[in-house]
Amino acid sequence: MKKMTIANYIIAGILVFIFLMPVIYIISSSFKPINELFSSKPTFFPIQWTIANYGAALKRGEFGRYIFNSFIVAVSSTFIAVIINTMSGYALAKFRFKFDNVIMLVILSTIMLPLEVIMVPIFSVLKFFGLYNSLWALIIPPAATPTGIFLMRQYLLTIPDEIIQSARIDGASEFRIFFSIILPNAKPAIATLAIFSFMWRWNDYVWPLIAISSPKKYTLQLAIANFTGEFGTDYSSILAMSAISMIPMLIVFIIFQRQFVQGTVESGMKG
């Protein structure tokens, strides 16, 4: 038994190395001066630490703007996602109406229709509605996620009907019930949805790729990907921006680790 436990720790330790080392290496590389970056004998940690790469990136490709764009998109899309997905989840959990099952089925089947398959016609639709090359195209359409609706519905099923009924008897309007009873009671599920939504939007590449053309509206991921080719071998800015793009996720992850685990378990969440 003792032997088994020690073996477990050894394997667990090796896995820590495999999962963590590459991330630490990219962050440590981002603090290396150029001559060390392209040294023929690279070290794991910089010999001379510098933040010059970050300064260069912020100047060079207007990376400050891309960070700002990513933030605007992730925060506003998440806000909308929470409101509309909770509304839909509520309708599907607490109302019986003619097409409830059909609508549920349609919503769930859209999971099978990934964005990558419809990206060409989406481009036409965005153009038609004047959303092409606008951050709104990254905020509104992705906010409606089938997995988000599903997650909210599952959670709201657990709220007792009596609370809603007694509020109705007291004469509360349906929207009031939603805002003063449903939303506050759904906090744990909302937290899960919010952090997942933030992650999806912050890390997204395909939506911005289809919807955005002018560099002023690039998100961080789009900028990193597009400049990887253009900057050629000059990796200093790319490394710095990659490191920066991980920071918000790291913070969110450390604070909300439990919700991530919970959300993954509950619905097999896929953006």
Binding site: F19, S40, E116, V117
Partner: protein
């Protein structure tokens, strides 16, 4: 009394309308940005639409589909993607299950290990590509530095088609194992302890317990992981953009990249749409196969 009846009626009426109001915003967005594009996409696939066709395009029947059957590069990209699915799905399944099994063993600081293994899931595919590109590429990358320090000659990494292809597999598994690990951990923890106790009384060893209790109990989780990983790999693109760019010699060119370039670099929207339709059909077939195989296992 009359008032009560009336208010009851209006209550019933409300109950019929209100859910649609709550569903409204979502359904509107779904209709405009998923269902409408899906229909338009199918329509485009039968036309000679290009990115610069501003009038209505010509209907050309199945001509696009005939073209793509003879498009060797498309067939190659599609075949490459199917190979990637067939190779990566079992690897991902095995690694995430093994890591999950490790995490349900008696182990201190389990939460810390779980968090560290999950962490790559939070990194965007674009950055995952950068990370591994930076480690693997060239003779002076970290990878070849380690190889050299072990006394070997540096290896052709991302300029070697085979190596590049397996790097994609590796990067996917590295970045997504943590996610499916969580799914398996939850499934493992939901297996009743009494099953194991009963098996122990019958003198079952560890391996037998795994084969006859653990593995069969994971059926639902297994199906979910197979379907999710399959879909995920069919959609692969962002990771490849920064890791290999599709090269060398198209060895890591997969379907989505090919379709994207057909539409937005060669402007052949109609042709690209027919490719999307084919891709969707194949994804659906794979998903159905997963269902079918898990059903058949049940009857055994």
């Amino acid at each position: 009394m009359a008032k009560k009846v009336q208010s009851y009626r209006s209550y019933i009426l409300k109950q019929k309308i209100v859910p649609y109001l709550f569903l409204g915003p979502n359904l509107l967005i779904f209709s405009i940005f998923i269902i409408l594009p899906a229909i338009i996409g199918i329509y485009y696939s039968f036309t000679d639409m290009t990115l610069f066709t501003f009038d209505s395009p010509n209907f050309i029947g199945l001509a696009n589909y005939q073209t793509l059957i003879h498009d060797e590069d498309f067939i190659a990209a599609l075949w490459n993607t199917i190979k990637l699915v067939v190779v990566t799905v079992p690897i991902m399944f095995t690694t995430s299950l093994l890591v999950a099994v490790l995490l349900v063993q008696p182990l201190k600081a389990k939460g810390v290990f779980r968090a560290i293994y999950y962490w790559p899931v939070m990194i965007s595919a674009v950055v995952v590509g950068i990370i591994w590109q930076w480690i693997l590429a060239g003779n002076f990358g970290l990878f070849n530095t380690i190889v050299k320090s072990l006394g070997f000659d540096p290896i052709d990494t991302l300029i070697n088609p085979k190596f590049a292809w397996w790097s994609v597999v590796f990067a996917i598994v590295w970045s997504r194992t943590g996610y499916y690990m969580i799914v398996f951990v939850a499934a493992l923890l939901s297996i009743p302890e009494s099953l194991y106790e009963a098996a122990e009384m019958d003198g079952a060893n560890k391996l037998q317990k795994f084969r006859h209790i653990t593995y069969p109990s994971l059926k639902a989780a297994r199906l979910m992981v197979f379907i999710l990983v399959t879909m995920e790999i069919f959609k692969i693109y962002p990771l490849v953009v920064t890791l290999t760019g599709g090269g060398p010699f198209d060895s890591t060119q997969f379907t989505v990249q090919y379709i994207y370039e057909m539409a937005f670099k060669k402007y052949q929207v109609g042709l690209a749409s027919s490719m999307s339709v084919i891709m969707l059909l194949i994804v659906t077939i794979f998903t159905a196969l997963n269902f079918f195989m898990s059903k058949r296992g049940e009857n055994k």
